[in-house]
Symmetry: D2
Subunit: 381 residues, 4 copies
Amino acid sequence: MPGSTYGKLFTFTTWGESHGKALGVVVDGCPAGLPLCEEDVQAFLDRRKPGQSRYATKRAEDDAVEILSGVFDGFTTGTPISMVVFNKDQRSRDYSEIASCYRPGHADYGFDVKYGFRDYRGGGRSSGRETIGRVAAGAVAMKILAALGIEVHAYAEEIGGIRCETVDLSLCGENPFYMPDPAAAERVREAAEKRMAEQDSMGGIIACQVKNMPAGIGEPVFEKLDANLSRALFSIGAVKGVEIGDGFAAARSSGGRNNDPFLPPDREGGPLKKASNHAGGILGGLSDGSDILIRAAVKPTPSIAKEQKTVTREGRPITISIKGRHDPMIVPRAVVVVEAMTAVTLVDMLFVGMTARMESVCRFFGRDRAVPGRAEESGKP
Amino acid sequence: MPGSTYGKLFTFTTWGESHGKALGVVVDGCPAGLPLCEEDVQAFLDRRKPGQSRYATKRAEDDAVEILSGVFDGFTTGTPISMVVFNKDQRSRDYSEIASCYRPGHADYGFDVKYGFRDYRGGGRSSGRETIGRVAAGAVAMKILAALGIEVHAYAEEIGGIRCETVDLSLCGENPFYMPDPAAAERVREAAEKRMAEQDSMGGIIACQVKNMPAGIGEPVFEKLDANLSRALFSIGAVKGVEIGDGFAAARSSGGRNNDPFLPPDREGGPLKKASNHAGGILGGLSDGSDILIRAAVKPTPSIAKEQKTVTREGRPITISIKGRHDPMIVPRAVVVVEAMTAVTLVDMLFVGMTARMESVCRFFGRDRAVPGRAEESGKP
Amino acid sequence: MPGSTYGKLFTFTTWGESHGKALGVVVDGCPAGLPLCEEDVQAFLDRRKPGQSRYATKRAEDDAVEILSGVFDGFTTGTPISMVVFNKDQRSRDYSEIASCYRPGHADYGFDVKYGFRDYRGGGRSSGRETIGRVAAGAVAMKILAALGIEVHAYAEEIGGIRCETVDLSLCGENPFYMPDPAAAERVREAAEKRMAEQDSMGGIIACQVKNMPAGIGEPVFEKLDANLSRALFSIGAVKGVEIGDGFAAARSSGGRNNDPFLPPDREGGPLKKASNHAGGILGGLSDGSDILIRAAVKPTPSIAKEQKTVTREGRPITISIKGRHDPMIVPRAVVVVEAMTAVTLVDMLFVGMTARMESVCRFFGRDRAVPGRAEESGKP
Amino acid sequence: MPGSTYGKLFTFTTWGESHGKALGVVVDGCPAGLPLCEEDVQAFLDRRKPGQSRYATKRAEDDAVEILSGVFDGFTTGTPISMVVFNKDQRSRDYSEIASCYRPGHADYGFDVKYGFRDYRGGGRSSGRETIGRVAAGAVAMKILAALGIEVHAYAEEIGGIRCETVDLSLCGENPFYMPDPAAAERVREAAEKRMAEQDSMGGIIACQVKNMPAGIGEPVFEKLDANLSRALFSIGAVKGVEIGDGFAAARSSGGRNNDPFLPPDREGGPLKKASNHAGGILGGLSDGSDILIRAAVKPTPSIAKEQKTVTREGRPITISIKGRHDPMIVPRAVVVVEAMTAVTLVDMLFVGMTARMESVCRFFGRDRAVPGRAEESGKP
């Protein structure tokens, strides 16, 4: 089943395995005329590159992207943008253990049941390296959003139970955890050293803010903006929970406290404001003009050196210790993936919403006065 | 944009507004030969019917379903199943206040920005009555799942911050909150009386268990089983968070504690078991053969009689008190909707997974020996 | 499999069987603010209504349409438009023959193999009555096209081998065959009487012109405008061939004769003209600004009273004579169906093409100057 | 808009331009366990390779395919298969003429209107080289069909008005036109020499037979098998008409002659035969078990050296003569493309049809007796 394509109008298809020849993505539906070059994409890929700190896998990959199609004279042409990253460090090692048993916390067993066998080298298709394609597509989406004045910022809100108390987005790049609170980052560093010494791993929470989002984006029923964002984040391996705005805390609030009062616009006819934002910028599946706030819970890295009980492919109990170059925590490198998946979803929903009003459709096709404004014709409010 | 259709192979399209002539659904992709009658569907609709307790809206609706197509001689024919519920109690009332201002916690403002105007009667398309179509489709999906031996059970796990401490699913129907713990239900009753006296409302958490789920269902990348379940639940109005298994708690665990050890099968070649189920039955987007456990956070009903500040369509501040027949809590009536959305998603994912293996495809088309088993040909494990 | 939904952004789902309770359609993705009432739709349905001449089935149906949702105060709201036609003349008759054997030229055998059984009453889902939903959806699409200044006109170009020699669209309604050439219509009348006396049936060709089509609509690869129009027409029962422009005759031409020379525009910056239109208004899958001309070959009605050899469900040879109220020719009543399927396809393709240029997307979202025009930035033509 | 992806369950996405770095395809939804190697794919690509006769472009390309993902140990893994062909002969030449004017018979003008500019080198995305990706995907589909016992054979039925009078598929490879009738091929050779001397080009008709097709494949309404095949063929550049079985000739027949009588099966319970096959193996959108016969009309190559009138991008009239390495006829190299598009469509429709019967679904999931056979329960035939 074609589960490797994402999106309706702005789509992308990722392909590639952890230890195959290459990984890549085909972005289809990017409008023509967007300035785009490999550096634009590389900047995003560098944020998820391995080997950047002692809290990430040591695998040595440049992850240098090459654009093979869809760009001409520095601009997108409206045709598919094919981007590829060749795998370099496919270290030759012994996969017999991982091939012959089911690692706890991994999809090995599911793959074997589903497909009859699996590419067991480094996790194959369910490797975190699959996100290379997502991030490359996200880089394109971020350029489109930038042209529309919309910003997306993800960051590590919590790691190993240690939460940020302040949020200064400009500080994220200054610590290896992508946390906007240096004090929290320092505490995470200490906790991480301890956890790594125990040959164990940590989880955490990634938050993502969207600024300058226009109101009315999203579709009222199944294609709610939050429903699609949730699916986008849950499609990232290791995500076990998603919430919008107050999320689970809203379930314990009351209507009187949880409802956000609307405020008059700054200028006549301008967008409304809200006195609070418990809703996280989305009401009834449509953006309400406030900042969107979404959060993903990321489980601890399942690959740990600590001994674990499991069974072989034949069902015999064994004890394993997972060797190799694994991240002691997934969160820092997944921040840019959350940003990418949020960006591609927003672009897609902005595009699919363009036909919501007959009036705008007529104007788009140069028929400004062809359809009488609804109000005029009906004489109703 | 066509946001009213759900699913890939087992699909359904809902239509209708709160105060229009009727609401309904067209289920397309139901296999032929499934026994189906109106009573099958009615049983599910009755669980979301208004007016069943003092903790639900008093709107008087039978919500009697009529099947207009797709069933012949008591069996589905493989063609679209059109089901309709005519609205009866479209009480003539004054909608001028709701038409002229934006209710906090509702999508009114988003609708106006998006479409230029809205059907303001009772929430129009964003009314909870839209879920009639979902529940009817869910009833069909539940029959398919039953034929495959799969069970889906949703229940209220928490209301107004009061959690169930025991789970006896057989007791859900004995209290108006659909809680599996009578003691918790009793405490919710007291809390609800108090909240209603304050003209305010309550939120809660709905849990859903899936039993006898085969392993290997779901697709590895964007169509992960949990990603699609999450989108399914987030598409229900008022849901603000979703988690699978330990969810947000997993983010605070360690790999060593959060990983579920696999256990040998009961019989040779049988499905594996797990020693724990922190994963909630899904790993890497594929079912792992354990029970699926998913949870949705539901916000408090936004329509409250208590006075609230907001603005008019022209942006002028006003104070409103929402009259009408509103549920003081959404959770009890949403339980069957969560069950329905889970069921339709499972059926769709089961169907799309049928082409995962060449061997099964060949067997399906009666070519048992046409393709050599992979193992034999390659001589590899 | 969900084969009853058509379209990507402007979609519709048809449902219903020939002798079920009702037939209908759900149109999803119609922009808000389009004036729409039942009369708009009825006018189109009346063109395919049975019983209008002695060259059409005598089944007595009003085919009165009811709009159940999606319209408020006379305007579409942007939410699904559910339209229904209740079957009235479900004459109680004996279906034992048709139930027990396979009619030549019909899908009976395919249905039985596919689904295990079939609703044999009047053809069930493969009845021409299924097109009621298409025509209702087409009526909505025609209103959208009209607002954009685009016209669609289908007509009978040939029946029983007799071709129109002149095309005056205003004359189509004056003969029961929907032919734009009265002389040809007269000859068809004579031929039809003869064929009916032989208890046999006639086929023909339906042509469809699209006027004022903007250039650049369609997508270059799989979603070519002609590819989608072709699928639209082939999805109408009884269509066995489709051609665009010169079609099969182009295969016998040469490049020098078949290429249409471009001509200068009427005014500077205006759309180009072509000196001829062998291409039928579509080049490389994109509209070229000339009128679109498409043609569908319709087979003779397979239900004939004449004796035919076939087999029973058990495979025993028999001779049958199909009784009942069958059209001696399908073409006249299918003209409006061709028009409808063309219209819905055009609307969908117009909508999906709205994101082709970054410049237009930015302008749509009010960011006129955010993205530098491609030409300026690159300094290239 | 994402028009570069084809299919629902067996999907593929093509990318690349005539003179870009590379062209390729991502096949998603191929079942796991299919033996696949580069040679399998190369054999098909070689059939469309340029430079194989004096009746094809002289461009020197190996078109050597590389598989970058989705295959492990010689078998498909169920994950996306990425295949790439690097462009070698991107001869540096002067594109100023083609960049500055609109070639008759080409999509240049449509591209400019749609996207604001175009990659004018060798036709960019609308080049015939785009079909490399289709043929590679088709090679995979052909292997799946072979495993199911289904054969697809396309051939040139007519070129320049010269038709084959005999069809011996084994002879197609022996002439440069891929014609199954050597005498016709010889006449085409003479006609081609003459046409080339005139600096002009030829069109023709490609036929495609499908043998051993099971009955009941296709969906009754919009996803009719013939509708999807038609779209598949019309999506190939230069196709201007498609017909199934007797096609346009059926429009001139009568029901009595055009209906194919069913014949008893060879063995009890075996598939039915038909006494004739005017229908081309498809009735009501479902395969009827006879051979499928489909035909595509291909226009003459629009790029000709002969002088033609057209206009510049600014709308000024000019005369052009198209230089370069163009095929004097498209048909021979398009034969394998027709075969590929037919194959991918058949695989997709076979897959989507797998959920048609509850009974088969239950059996697939190992629940043979869970659902009572329809007949037993209802007591009806």
